[in-house]
């Protein structure tokens, strides 16, 4: 009788493979694969959580360290992408909480507050793409962490189901937040980004 070959695990289907069928892949190999696929996304994520360049470098290193260590326990129950984003967001959340522990005025913007902010009328300033990006980063860095996680995942082009899997929010909740975030972005960036082209 012909034996079925074991399933091939790739980055895209790892979440669908039963843990027991999972071939033994080393911690280093998973890490290298994750870095190969998500290196720039992790870098952008660190920018969104930390404005100070030195502390950002530390945060990025912390994320990489946590990621590498986490692969000791990676069992393929979720996709590599979900795992990488969860590790990165969780480490970054700890970082932000630590950094703001004794700061009395370290309040973050809720979506309601972001929506209530006046729209950007300064076309000349925002006509520069660097300026627009700086403003986008500044807005993201002020958002409450859960909204920040949703907006970052959205900017990385993840769908609502994936964002729900990473954050633990229901898909409906993610949709609502994305819709509201889009409105904030429209109000804050439409003129700037369009004119910058």
């Amino acid at each position: 009788m012909r034996k079925e070959p074991p399933p091939v695990v790739t980055t895209s289907n790892v979440g669908n493979v039963e843990p027991r069928q999972h071939p033994k892949t080393g911690q280093n190999e998973w890490y290298q694969q994750a870095v190969g696929d998500y290196d720039t996304a992790l870098d952008r994520l660190a920018h969104a959580y930390e404005a100070d360049p030195d502390r950002r470098r530390d945060l990025l290193q912390e994320i990489h360290l946590a990621l590498w260590r986490s692969f000791e326990k990676f069992d393929g129950r979720c996709s590599l992408r979900t795992w990488v984003y969860r590790v990165a967001h969780n480490v970054a959340a700890s970082h932000v909480i630590r950094q703001t522990k004794w700061k009395k005025n370290a309040a973050f913007l809720t979506l309601e507050e972001a929506e209530a902010q006046p729209g950007n009328e300064n076309v000349e300033v925002s006509a520069d793409r660097h300026q627009a990006l700086a403003r986008l980063l500044a807005l993201i860095q002020r958002l409450e962490l859960v909204d920040r996680q949703v907006i970052l995942a959205y900017l990385e082009d993840l769908d609502a189901e994936s964002i729900g899997e990473i954050t633990g929010l229901s898909t409906a909740n993610v949709w609502t937040r994305i819709h509201r975030i889009k409105n904030v972005l429209v109000r804050q960036f439409h003129t700037g980004v369009r004119d910058a082209r």
Binding site: Y31, N90, W102, L155, T176
Partner: protein, 192 residues
Amino acid sequence: MPGECLPDDVQILWREMEMSSLTFSPDQLRREMEKLQVGSRRKSIIVAVVGWSLIAAFAVFFFLFDNTLARIGSALSVAGFAYMLVYMRRAKWRALPDVGPTECIRFYRTELERHRDSCRGMRLWSWILIVMAPWIIFNLGFMQVHPEVAPVLWFDCGFIVAAAAFVAHKWLSTARRYQDRIDMLDASQKGS
């Protein structure tokens, strides 16, 4: 709607961000982890040296002073600092869930709860009482033996009480801020 295509534009803008191109090899990360472990060991050694020095100093005071209050203060200080050393060695913060399998919202809530709990309850009051009470008792005893330095010691007692009140206020208000964020997080999940 004029802004219909906007989010795509912002996504493109987002991905055009210049990157720092920092890379870490597994060997580098392993070395970094060892460095962190060495740093944490060094911190523990410093705490132990300071703690044991204070214990030794108050043990000497116990035999040096003939006054009952000073002796009670010294004995309590020795016990208090010994408790602190044991506490710091054994008591761990509430453990965080693993970063990989834990969804962000649960991880964030646990982290907020952990920080909130570190700033209130037994942890706060035991630290304040352990440092403050024996020190004041010791000072009162010392005043009886050397009444000429009483004004300085009263100032010292006042300073300790003020410092303890400041720390308690700071920690409790920080704990309240964490609780507010937890409440906000819960409300935002219920609201949507």
